[in-house]
Symmetry: C2
Subunit: 282 residues, 2 copies
């Protein structure tokens, strides 16, 4: 079994970005992410601090726009408009969930699609679906980069994705298919999920249940990507029972230190892409 | 074996539309489709005539805008803009392929998304991907209506889609998943396509090869939807070898008279939807 380490892929992604960041710098441009947080979630603030540290090391900015929990939808939209129109802001990331007075689906459609580093705007989601250049959601995009980093061939493989969320399940299915995998998407209503999973060459666990995937669900020699993040007894754990499956698989992402780490690198990638896009440089 | 007849589903779809069409009529509105044809393809013109006849019976208009084969991209865009801004035009359908001087991907993004009855604009494709109300491409949408017409339960079924096109394979996969099927998408690079197909409860053949699906590829009692249209010895044939599989399946769409017939009904549905949308009535 070999670990698929997020930091190894992330290092490579950042190295490849260096040239772009330097070129932008010569033009007086610094990629700049603005993370919008409503309320005082310590987890969100801690996450942004981690993102900022990681970005700053590479010469990319990341700032927080902290809004009050009681902000009205109109006020929120007015703040978003400012970010949309501010040439100094390259990428906008809105931390979800939003409080209930704000319609999330409406807000996502109001993000400038050229600053949509999450790839959640339907225009960007549609480009992903039809195979055009777009902002690819960071978590699934990072997973593809991880497979590439470790020279894992995707073409012709049977891939099984557990979970059909807009953020992970659907986009990773499309990306794996784009790379010529044969993809099966399983979810809560799938009847024979264990049997299907156990035939996967590449298994993506994004179902949001701690220890959902055990030895009986993985094929001998499978490649396992674990998207789950759960706090169990004060420790971060995934959707996969790591100890139980580790001797059966050929490759597996640890939690923490796997998919989550590449996600942050892809957020930087998308922020640099947005900076180039809104300043029309290549 | 029971035939899934397009005309049966289409009749029902049209009946359900009658109330909407009558309501629009009372407001002085007539849903109006404009089909844009570049060049003189007899097949395209014959298709539009068939659409027009079918629409007119229900009080819906369908007209052709015929453009010269040598039209420049700029001229084409200018004609498209006129349709986008003409309040009398509810829906716009551009017959593909376009001649090579015209960039199809660019043109599709210039269609008013509220008139995009094909559902090809990335904004509409994106809404389909993330599960929001949108224009669903007519062929896959018709297939879902066909299954509903014959009271075929989709939930929990293993569905296999042969083909990953933007027009059929990807959207039908999303729609089947939305109805809680477990979906596998196969394509030209799939290694064990026969084996996968032969385990499908619902098999969608949209791979564009005449007689591709034979008895060995269908499960006993499967439901088979055949999207293929091929002219063989002057006759219309599908992707499925109908005679070879008919005694093994529980339901199957014939070609002609199956999926194609519901496609036209869904085009009418989308045209009426567009008319309501651009006139902001419900």
């Amino acid at each position: 079994m070999q670990l698929l380490e997020g930091k190894v892929a992330a290092k490579h992604i950042k190295q490849n970005l260096k040239e772009d960041i330097d070129l932008l710098k010569k033009k007086g441009l610094v990629p700049n992410l603005r993370v919008v947080i409503v309320g005082n979630s310590p987890a969100s603030l801690a996450y942004v601090n981690m993102v900022r540290k990681s970005f700053n090391k590479e010469g990319v900015n990341a700032d927080v726009l902290k809004l009050d929990e009681s902000i009205s939808e109109d006020q929120f939209i007015s703040e978003l408009e400012k970010l949309n129109n501010d040439n100094k802001v390259s990428g906008i990331l809105i931390q979800l969930p939003l409080p209930k007075q704000i319609n999330t689906s409406k807000i996502i459609k109001l993000i400038n699609p050229n600053k949509d580093v999450d790839g959640f705007h339907p225009l960007n989601a549609g480009k992903l679906l039809i195979g055009e250049d777009t902002f690819i959601p960071c978590t699934p995009y990072g997973m593809i980069k991880m497979l590439e980093e470790y020279d894992i061939d995707i073409e012709g493989k049977n891939a099984v994705v557990l979970g059909r969320s807009n953020i992970v399940g659907k986009p990773i299915s499309l990306l794996l298919m784009e790379k010529n995998a044969t993809v099966t998407i399983c979810h809560s209503r799938t009847k024979n999920i264990k049997e299907i999973a156990s035939k996967a060459d590449i298994l993506v666990a994004a179902i949001g249940k701690h220890n959902f995937v055990d030895e009986s669900m993985v094929k001998e020699g499978a490649i396992v990507l674990d998207v789950g993040i759960h706090v169990v007894d004060g420790k971060l754990k995934g959707d996969v029972d790591f100890e139980n499956v580790k001797n059966k698989v050929s490759y597996i992402t640890p939690v923490p230190g796997g998919v989550g780490t590449t996600t942050i690198a892809m957020l930087m990638y998308n922020t640099v892409k947005a900076c180039k896009l809104i300043n029309k440089t290549n």
